[in-house]
């Protein structure tokens, strides 16, 4: 039985060499929910995610990143990035069990096979990444993320390089299999935020704005009128020069 995932609060501002990257801001991630962080390129979305992940050594973050259960986040997160980051010299099974290998832990090949089965990759276990399509590679990356079995999942534009159909498939898979975990999904795609987000937050030069997500469980159907309308509103909001009173 997995322990209940924590809620996260990120409160503070970030600078690189004295120049502000973002903030002051306060971002809350609800426990067991998907929060989509939407925004144009260059406003610090990825920096924010990297700070939470604890892999940013160049940015100075002043503030706190806390979990609701008061425990440290280290070792409780899994990361999935825009590029699949598969190691070309390992086969699919090797890539999915990379975490255990790097920690010197026993590799649970039975679970790895189960997860790869769920991802529809049962026939590709021994293939190297270059023998897979872009969509298959991203599914392996999702399998590797699930294999880590962490309560907090950080997704950095994971599907932005995929074609529209594959992207929609990946969104379905991810939303289904990441259910019940605290997920931060950084994206620049309003459609993705409208489909995936239990909560949607827009980060712009002026700060964070909460936006009401469309109704219905995630992943919301691509053709759902309310989801499409929300997508339109989000895009309008992204294009607005300053955060105006766009009704949501």
């Amino acid at each position: 039985m997995r322990p209940a995932p924590p809620a996260l609060v990120i409160d503070g501002h970030a600078r690189i060499d004295g120049l502000p990257v973002f903030g002051p801001l306060r971002l809350s991630l609800a426990a067991g929910r998907i929060t989509c962080l939407l925004g144009p390129s260059g406003v610090g979305k990825t920096t924010l995610l990297r700070l939470i992940a604890g892999v940013d050594d160049v940015t100075t973050f002043t503030g706190t990143i806390t979990a609701s259960d008061g425990l440290p986040l280290t070792g409780r997160m899994a990361l999935m990035a825009q590029s699949d980051l598969l190691l070309p010299w390992l086969d699919v099974l090797g890539n999915v069990t990379l975490g255990a290998r790097l920690r010197g832990a026993r590799r649970d090949l039975i679970r790895a096979r189960q997860i790869l089965n769920q991802m529809g990759l049962a026939d590709h276990l021994e293939k190297r990444p270059d023998a897979l399509s872009g969509g298959q590679r991203q599914r392996v990356a999702l399998a590797r993320t699930l294999m880590e079995d962490r309560p907090v999942i950080l997704l950095d534009e994971p599907f932005s390089a995929l074609d529209a159909r594959t992207r929609a498939e990946m969104q379905d898979l991810a939303a289904t299999h990441l259910a019940g975990r605290t997920v931060l999904m950084v994206t620049h795609d309003p459609a993705e935020a409208a489909r995936m987000g239990h909560a949607i937050v827009i980060l712009s030069e002026t700060g964070l704005v909460d936006v009401a997500p469309p109704p219905g469980p995630v992943p919301r159907p691509v053709e759902d009128p309310e989801t499409l309308a929300a997508q339109g509103r989000l895009l309008a909001r992204l294009r607005a020069p300053a955060p105006g009173p766009v009704p949501c």
Partner: protein, 248 residues
């Protein structure tokens, strides 16, 4: 393959013709520059003698190359593993490169004797830096996203090195080895010039001293062929096992 063979034959034929033309037109006496035919005759007549000495040189070069690759590889991994070792050892390595290897040959002969090992040491010394340097640079250039992923996974540093950094750096190691294949014979020959009773370098000095310039050229040609063969072999091995690793 066939076109390569044809062009190789054409280049060789051209070089031999130029050589013969130079000898004929400049009316050079054989004790200054013997013609290709004369050298070929000597090569055939002294084949047993040359083969004997070539075997010795080849052994020196191969042992030096193997030890240099091993030591260089381990040094690069050691340097890449610890910033402390970088601060301590890198300046020493650079300083050691400021000493011409030629200048060390007599000392090595003094310490290791006239036999095989002083030449092995020379070959090793001359290739150590290129191998270490090429591999080390590649080890320090592991793509950052892989390092981030490993960090979030809680990788232990030694396992990160073994499972990600080393495999990703193998093409760099390969380019070091390709250089080494060309340099190692230089080291062995210098060693033989300084003091030896066997080897192609010794044979060349001996032939020169006795004004057997045709024998000297025959030995020189065999040496060049040996180096080409070694380079081709190392290149092939690198393609087979190292280059592909990071892209396969």
């Amino acid at each position: 393959m066939l076109t390569r063979l044809v062009s190789l034959t054409a280049v060789t034929a051209l070089a031999v013709m130029l050589w013969q033309a130079l000898v004929t037109l400049a009316e050079l006496p054989p004790f200054i520059l013997p013609g290709p035919l004369r050298v070929a005759e000597t090569l055939w007549a002294s084949r047993a003698l040359i083969a004997h000495h070539a075997t010795i040189t080849a052994a020196e070069v191969l042992i030096g190359l193997a030890l240099g690759a091993l030591l260089g590889g381990l040094s690069a991994i050691g340097l890449a593993s610890s910033p402390m070792s970088r601060r301590l050892i890198r300046p020493m390595m650079v300083f050691s490169q400021a000493i011409p290897v030629f200048a060390l040959a007599p000392i090595l002969t003094l310490w290791l004797g006239y036999g095989l090992w002083s030449k092995v040491a020379m070959a090793l010394l001359i290739i150590y830096f290129p191998v270490t340097s090429a591999f080390f640079d590649a080890l320090m250039r592991t793509p950052q996203p892989w390092l981030d992923l490993a960090r979030v996974m809680g990788a232990n540093p030694a396992r990160l090195m073994w499972h990600i950094r080393v495999p990703a750096a193998l093409p760099g190691f390969a380019s070091g080895l390709r250089l080494a294949a060309v340099y190692a014979p230089i080291g062995a020959i210098i060693g033989e010039w300084v003091g030896a009773s066997k080897g192609l370098g010794y044979l060349m000095l001996l032939a020169n001293g006795r004004a057997k310039i045709d024998l000297m050229f025959a030995a020189l040609i065999v040496l060049a062929l040996l180096t080409l063969l070694l380079h081709a072999g190392v290149d092939r091995a690198c393609r087979r096992w190292l280059d592909g690793a990071a892209t396969r």
